[in-house]
């Protein structure tokens, strides 16, 4: 069934394909346009460089009047990301505007990576290290960057196995 929210998401998808923003990619899941998978590439010249971080976006029929629920699936170490992958970002909560689309959400999260807001910490250790021990912070980030590649390898291998059987 086509609803205004679903048609808006089709437009978001079309725009993503025609005018793909740098460093992010996303697509709806095969059988449900209300659930999307996305990848954010860690921005250059930041500790997150070369990371390939997977996320999910879950929309409701109230989209775009209500924001989607966005979560990191890949392990993240960031002052504004909760242990369950949930993201503390104003535009996904009280500063949401119905003019945002999937591309805008993902590019905002991408810029949040290198511009954390230590005033609203979701991961207190990450916030503390970011402010007090930047070397240790970057070491922890480097570890999750490496982990983000492993996630992708697992998936590739899984798909290869499916082909074999």
């Amino acid at each position: 069934m086509s609803t205004p929210a679903r048609r808006r998401l089709m437009r978001d998808f079309k725009r993503l394909q025609q005018d793909p923003p740098a460093g992010v990619s996303a697509a709806p899941t095969e059988n449900n346009i209300m659930i999307w998978n996305a990848v954010i590439f860690g921005p250059h010249d930041t500790p997150f460089e070369d990371g390939t971080f997977k996320l999910t976006l879950e929309f409701t029929e109230e989209y775009p009047n209500k924001p989607p629920t966005v979560k990191f699936v890949s392990k993240m170490f960031h002052p504004n990301v909760y242990a369950d992958g949930g993201i503390c970002l104003d535009i996904l909560q009280n500063r949401w505007s119905p003019t945002y689309d999937v591309a805008a959400i993902l590019t905002s999260i991408q810029s949040l990576l290198d511009e954390p807001n230590p005033n609203s910490p979701a991961n207190s250790l990450a916030a503390q290290l970011y402010q007090e021990n930047r070397r240790e912070y970057e070491k922890r980030v480097a570890a999750i960057v490496e982990q983000s590649w492993l996630n992708f390898q697992d998936e590739d291998e899984g798909e290869d196995m499916k082909k074999d059987t």
């Binding site: 205004p4 808006r8 978001d12 775009p64 119905p98 003019t99």
Partner: protein
């Protein structure tokens, strides 16, 4: 030398707006919004302007202001400057807009 036998004036118009796409549903404000297209209510879909000069489909905006009374583009407190019908759509629906034919 010659006489003027017939004289036709043509008027072109478009909305006096900064951006002709409704930033909420991403459809041009000249067309009906996504909701009205789906419900076949194209004729009722009008444009609304704020004091900030941003414009949207009235349907899209009325749903948003219910939860947050500010302009989705500039975050200013929303107050309506004008509401308009879409004349082209109105004329088409009344059969008065038939291409080359003189109105």
């Amino acid at each position: 030398m010659f006489t003027l036998k017939k004289w036709n004036a043509v008027a072109m118009w478009s909305w006096d707006v900064e951006c002709d796409t409704c930033a909420i549903c991403r459809v041009q404000v000249m067309d009906a919004c996504l909701r009205c297209q789906g419900e076949n209510k194209q004729d009722d879909c009008v444009v609304i302007w704020g004091e900030c000069n941003h414009s949207f489909h009235n349907c899209c905006m009325s749903l948003w202001v219910k939860q947050n009374n500010r302009c989705p583009l500039c975050q200013q407190e929303w107050s309506t400057q004008a509401k308009g019908v879409n004349f082209t759509r109105l004329l088409i629906s009344e059969g008065r807009w038939a291409g080359e034919q003189e109105v």
